[in-house]
Each structure stands twice: as structure tokens, then as C-alpha cells.
């Protein structure tokens, strides 16, 4: 249901976007005759009434994977998107996974050992991390990384390595990925830490934890066997919710690190006012987030037996 809404919004938004597409394609060249303009319009289907004709036409095209042609790159939008998709997935995926691992672990420790040094430290870190703008951290790490460690400042791989098989360029890829991934991880870690901590505190106050202790389980056994599974449930929801924000973060980070992924593409499309590209990218991003959310719902149902019945 939400997908429908998104699609609709997407369409409306971009049709509302003035700046005659034809004009933009032609550029500043105003000497094109009115007839040619009209012909172009017909070709783009812009002369038909917006609704329902254009709408369903576009819908049909999208269903077939035709997202139009990028004005600035002169290639089909879907092709452009696909080529950059994996880069972004790699970056986001890595960053999130690391953030989850570290964040959840830290949150567990912080909640378990409340008010100790580790808890205070973790809380402080999360607090500060939340207040730091994504791109600023990226800039700092970029500056520090390149100045002190000679890490590359742009791109996914060095120009010399483009197109080579994955295995051979792994070290180079790693070097390029390091800083952007680090930025992502640091920023998202804090949030996972906080949620996990809060979740653990809730869980550890429950009666069944006392029962477990009364059974003779050690603290660690109680945590591992009983508390953890219950505490992880909110995390799953959080991961789903986060996907939207991660995409946003990717836009900033890819811009700062000139990382050739969807985020950078989006930003470039924006600057160049390449509307088909912008529209296509937006559609892709929105739809993937929605799909991911649905997957998370399914996952949650699998983990929590209470939900299965509903």
C-alpha cells in the first residue's frame, strides 16, 4: 500500500517540477523552432494530459524497468543506477554491519554494568556522535586520513585499477573503503548502543530474569540465554527504520569521499538538475527502503513467537 503512495508521490513531484524538460535537454539553444519543440514534446509524451495518460504510461514504463534517460549522462537511467547500486550497497552494508556489531555489544555491556565507567563512556560517546554532522566527520577523517596515513581521498578504487577483477584489487578497494566505512560506523554505532542499552535495561528488570537467577544461572548465562534474544527485538525494528537514514548518510559520505555510488549520483543529479536521473534514483531509494522495512517486519515475526499468530 505504501508503495503505491510512494510511486504516486514520486510521479506528482516530478511532474510538478517545472523547468520544461525539453528545454533542459536542448539547453540554452533557443533557436530551435517551435515545431521541433512540439515534436520533441510528443516524443517525450509531454503533450498528453498529465492524468491519467501520462501517469499510467510512466507507471507502465517503470514496471518494465524503463526509467527514462539521464540528460546529463546520456544513458538510460536504469543502467546508470544499476552500475552504481552495488558500490553503495557495499559501503552501507559494511558500515551498518560493523555499527550493529559494535553498537549492540557496547549497549549490552553498558546496560548490564550500569553507571560504571564503561556505561558512562559509551553514553558520552553516543551523545557526542549524535551531535556530529555526518559530512563533517567525513571531512575530518578525510583530512586526517590522507594527511597522516596517506589514505586515498576519492573514488572507489584507484583509476589504474578500474575494471580489474575483484580479487586483484581487494587491497586497493579496502584502502578506499576504509575511511567512508569508518565514518558510517562511528555515526551509527551510537544509536545502536543507546537502543540496545535501553532495551537491555528493560529486559533485565523483567521477572523472568529473576527466575533465571533463582535457578542458579550465572550473570553471564542469564544475559546470553535469556536476556539477549528479548533485548534484540527492538534492534531489528531499528535496523529497518535506520535504512532510510543510512541512505541519507550515504549521500553525504559519498559526496565527501567522492565515492562513486548512488548517493553521489543523487547529489550530482540534483546539482545538474537532471530530473529523470533524480526521479529514478529517488524511486529506487524509496522502494528499496520500503522492501527492506517489509523484510524487517518478517524477520521480527520470526524472532518473536508472540507475533506469529497475528
Amino acid at each position: 500500500m505504501t508503495v503505491i503512495v510512494v510511486v504516486f508521490i514520486n510521479f506528482m513531484l516530478f511532474r510538478v517540477l517545472p523547468g520544461d524538460p525539453v528545454r533542459a535537454v536542448i539547453g540554452r539553444n533557443v533557436r530551435i523552432s517551435a515545431e521541433t519543440q512540439q515534436a520533441l514534446r510528443e516524443q517525450f509524451g509531454l503533450d498528453k494530459p498529465v492524468f491519467p495518460d501520462q501517469f499510467f504510461d510512466t507507471l507502465g514504463q517503470w514496471a518494465q524497468g524503463n526509467l527514462g534517460v539521464s540528460w546529463s549522462l546520456r544513458r538510460p537511467v536504469s543502467e546508470v543506477l544499476m552500475s552504481k547500486l552495488w558500490n553503495t550497497l557495499l559501503l552501507i552494508g559494511l558500515g551498518q554491519v560493523l555499527a550493529i556489531i559494535f553498537g549492540v555489544t557496547l549497549g549490552l555491556l553498558a546496560g548490564w554494568k550500569r553507571k560504571t565507567a564503561i556505561d558512562m563512556g559509551a553514553l558520552t560517546f553516543s551523545l557526542v556522535a549524535w551531535a556530529i554532522p555526518t559530512f563533517w566527520l567525513g571531512i575530518i577523517l578525510l583530512a586526517a586520513g590522507s594527511a597522516w596515513f596517506g589514505l586515498p581521498t576519492a573514488g572507489i578504487v584507484s583509476p589504474a585499477n578500474t575494471g580489474k577483477p575483484l580479487i586483484t584489487i581487494l587491497p586497493d578497494l579496502a584502502r578506499h573503503l576504509f575511511l567512508p566505512t569508518l565514518t558510517l560506523t562511528i555515526l551509527y554505532l551510537g544509536e545502536y548502543m543507546l537502543i540496545m542499552r535501553s532495551s537491555i535495561l528493560d529486559v533485565l528488570s523483567e521477572d523472568y530474569i529473576l527466575t533465571s537467577k533463582a535457578k542458579g544461572l550465572s550473570d553471564w548465562q542469564v544475559l546470553w540465554r535469556h536476556a539477549l534474544k528479548n533485548a534484540m527485538l527492538p534492534i531489528v525494528t531499528l535496523i529497518a527504520l535506520n535504512l532510510g537514514f543510512t541512505v541519507s548518510g550515504a549521500i553525504y559520505i559519498e559526496t565527501v569521499f567522492s565515492y562513486d555510488g548512488l548517493g553521489k549520483l543523487f547529489q550530482t543529479a540534483l546539482v545538474k538538475q537532471d530530473y529523470p536521473l533524480l526521479q529514478g534514483a529517488f524511486l529506487l531509494l524509496a522502494v528499496s527502503v520500503i522492501i527492506a522495512n517489509m523484510a524487517a517486519d518478517v524477520l521480527y515475526a520470526v524472532l518473536d513467537p508472540r507475533v506469529k499468530e497475528t
Binding site: T2, W136, A147, L204, S205, F266, Q267, F282, V289
Partner: protein, 318 residues
């Protein structure tokens, strides 16, 4: 009437005492206050105008000069004083942040109250809308909206555009929060009683519900403002701010685009970000301490340290 006032004063002094005890809250308050003061007294605090180019002895712009006596935070790529830009930038960042935050808070509270109080279809509609908004990634949507609005030649300042866009997208969390609170309040007895004696909806909302959710609204506003400031800085960084009135985010945009990084001009890209963190952290600390005071988590959990459980005092003389 008088007793209401004394009650209020006493509550206020209790509140202040509790607030003072929490060091972090004080820190937060300090951070926010200094930022606001700096923005207000900008002309007094900055030695130069932000657009003024500092020239050296030969009349050439003092570009990328490191911090010195003349310019405490150095100069940018055109020779303008960073410190002054920072102070004036505060005005923009804070204004946009606060305004957007208030809009988000207002819209959110309104919808939250309506949905929670009236329930039924209004509630359903609201839930649908928030669901959709929650799912759509925020930055791409905002970028698209801003791009659209700009294209429309509406002759509004880009800052107004930012305020509008941020305010219109970030109300959802507030709405949900307020809604659930209103739902709990609605269940309570006095609402039913008020209805029984024929009180109108507006009256009930004003007298019963609003006072109870006020603390929640205030806390939430502070946190929303911090988000708004962050978001504005992000949008400005991507070039969507007003070039003539640069906020901190815009300064970072300049820094990045004009190769401050490659030139090693850390005084250009560090301070604006630092300022953002300063204010945002302040708001978050404030918001957190307010939240602590409203919902303190009192009980310890079952695995909390119990090494002192057996504390048998020895009888004297043994």
C-alpha cells in the same frame, strides 16, 4: 488566584533545584545559551564583517591565512575572517533550526492531539501518513522537495524553503509521541467526567490534556530543534542554503568546494562543524535532562551489582 501563583513558584523552584543538580543539563543549557548570545550580539563580537576581505600590506587578499592575531580563526579562500563568519553564521543556523523546530513541533503536536483525542478515522489517517513519511528516506525527499520549490521561481529566500521543508518533514515523531500520551490521558477518569457535564472538546483539550502534555512537548521541542539544526547544516552543505547568508553548514560547503582540505586549512573546516556540535550537543543534553526529570528510571535491574548484599556488622569486641 494567589495560591496558583505560589504553587507555580514553588514548582518552579523545585524544578530549578532538580535541574541544577544535574550537571549535564547545566552544561547543555550553557552551550545553548552561549550560542544564542553569540548570535544576538554578533556585531559586537566580530572584528570584521563576514564579507569583508582582509588585505595584507600590498592590498592583496589574505587567503587561507592560519589563525593569527588579526584573524583568530584564520581566513578563508578569499581572505575573509572565519571567526566573523562563524558568529554571523550562528544567526542563520540558529534561526533556521529554531524556526523549523517550532514548526515541526507545532504541526506534530496538533496532529498528535487531534489523532489521539478524536481517534477513529482521523487517527487512522494520521497513522497512514506518518507511516509513509517514516519509510521514505528523509534526505532524498527533502532534496527533491527543495529542488522543486526552487525551480518554481517563487522568489522566496532559500532559507525559508529550508525551514518549510524541514518543518514539514520532521513532525512525525512528535505527532506519534503526543498521540500516545493523549491516548493514555484520555482514558483517565476526569475526561469522561468532563464530557458527562457537557464540556466541549476544545475546553477539555485546553484545560485537561494540554497541561499534562506540556512537559512532553517542551522536551520534544528541544530535541527536534537539535535535529533541525543538524539537518539544516546538511542541506546547506549540499549547497541548498543561501549563499549570501551562510550558515555553518554553508561554510562547510565553501570549505569543501574550495579545497580547504587539500590546502590543509583546518581552521576553515573545523570551526563551523565544531559550532554545530556545540549547539546540537547543548540541545540534546538539555532535552535529555528534561526527559530524565519527567521519566526517571528508578529501579535497578536484577543483575545489578550486589556485592554488598551481605553486610553483616560485626558485634563490637570480637
Amino acid at each position: 488566584m494567589n495560591e496558583n501563583r505560589t504553587l507555580f513558584k514553588r514548582n518552579l523552584s523545585d524544578f530549578w533545584k532538580a535541574f541544577r543538580r544535574n550537571k549535564l543539563g547545566l552544561l547543555g543549557g550553557f552551550l545553548v545559551l552561549t550560542a544564542i548570545l553569540a548570535a544576538t550580539f554578533a556585531p559586537l563580537l566580530s572584528p570584521y564583517m563576514p564579507t569583508e576581505v582582509i588585505r595584507d600590506a600590498n592590498g592583496r587578499g589574505l587567503t587561507f591565512a592560519p589563525p593569527s592575531v588579526h584573524a583568530p580563526l584564520g581566513t578563508d579562500d578569499a581572505g575573509r575572517d572565519i571567526w566573523s563568519q562563524l558568529i554571523y553564521g550562528a544567526r542563520v543556523s540558529l534561526t533556521v533550526g529554531f524556526l523549523a523546530g517550532f514548526i515541526a513541533m507545532f504541526v506534530g503536536s496538533l496532529f498528535g492531539i487531534l489523532a489521539g483525542y478524536f481517534g477513529g478515522r482521523v487517527d487512522n489517517l494520521l497513522m497512514r501518513v506518518t507511516d509513509v513519511l517514516l519509510v521514505i528516506p528523509d534526505l532524498p525527499l527533502m532534496l527533491v522537495l527543495v529542488a522543486t520549490l526552487r525551480q518554481m521561481d517563487l522568489r522566496i529566500s532559500p532559507l525559508v524553503v529550508l525551514v518549510a521543508v524541514i518543518g514539514l518533514l520532521y513532525w512525525t515523531s512528535t505527532a506519534r509521541l503526543i498521540r500516545s500520551q493523549v491516548l493514555t490521558i484520555k482514558e483517565r477518569q476526569f475526561v469522561a467526567r468532563s464530557r458527562a457535564i457537557g464540556a466541549g472538546h476544545a475546553h477539555i483539550i485546553r484545560k485537561h490534556i494540554l497541561p499534562q502534555i506540556m512537559p512532553l512537548i517542551v522536551t520534544n521541542t528541544v530535541l527536534i530543534i537539535s535535529t533541525a539544526i543538524l539537518v539544516e547544516s546538511g542541506l546547506a552543505f549540499l549547497g541548498l542554503g543561501d549563499p549570501t547568508k551562510p550558515s555553518w553548514g554553508a561554510m562547510l560547503n565553501f570549505a569543501f568546494d574550495r579545497s580547504a582540505v587539500t590546502n590543509g586549512a583546518w581552521w576553515f573546516y573545523l570551526p563551523p562543524g565544531f559550532a554545530i556540535v556545540w549547539v546540537t550537543l547543548g540541545c540534546v543534553l538539555l532535552g535529555n535532562v528534561l526527559e530524565e526529570m519527567l521519566n526517571p528510571r528508578l529501579t535497578a535491574h536484577h543483575l545489578e551489582s550486589n556485592q554488598n548484599m551481605i553486610a553483616i556488622q560485626k558485634q563490637g569486641g570480637e
